[in-house]
Symmetry: C2
Subunit: 114 residues, 2 copies
């Protein structure tokens, strides 16, 4: 049993899923393996709404997986996101996740590639 800020996680799997289990968290993290500005990320994830991206980024930041850096003081702002050292420990797992998806898409007949 694990605890973070009084929240309980019954096993190590549920602990990992707390970090990458949101609907788009793993996708966002993989895109941030290379440092990016907010709008670059947003354009790459055009199927995710702004609000969701924004909320997920905040959670990832609060969880210590990504770092947000602001370079200007007045609009239009320049903001960059990148993985922290802690976030980088997830890279092998994230690549494994992407890899399983790729292989599965090839062999599973229900999945169509366009």
């Amino acid at each position: 049993m694990y605890c973070i800020d009084n929240k309980q996680f019954p096993c190590s799997t549920s602990l990992t899923m707390k970090y990458i289990g949101g609907k788009w968290k793993a996708v966002i993290l993989i895109h941030l393996i290379e440092k990016k500005r907010y709008n670059e990320l947003r354009k790459e994830l055009s199927m995710v709404t702004e609000r969701t991206i924004s909320l997920q980024l905040k959670q990832l930041e609060a969880d210590g997986l990504i770092k947000r850096t602001v370079y200007t003081t007045k609009p239009p702002l320049k903001v960059e996101y990148e993985l922290t050292e802690f976030g980088k420990t997830l890279i092998p797992l994230l690549k494994g996740i992407a890899q399983w998806g790729k292989e599965t898409a090839k062999s599973n007949k229900r999945i169509k590639t366009e």
Copy 2:
């Protein structure tokens, strides 16, 4: 871009997360590496509500990851769940997820082990 039943997934990562991304799906799958009866699973996942377990099991079954077998016709039923061959392709990834959680719990000061 991938498609399953007219649902779109922009990248292989999002495709994988469709299968394991629900809040408890990965946890359920890891517990089903060994075939189990419904109540065994439920007791092992005491922090998850019945409704959630039930819904997730149905989705996992619909996704072809697990197989449900009924051994009786009248209550109390005997129902067993196990991974399909397709579900088994996820095992290395699931173990990776559990492993990252274990290692992270050791080194991350915000995570407490009880």
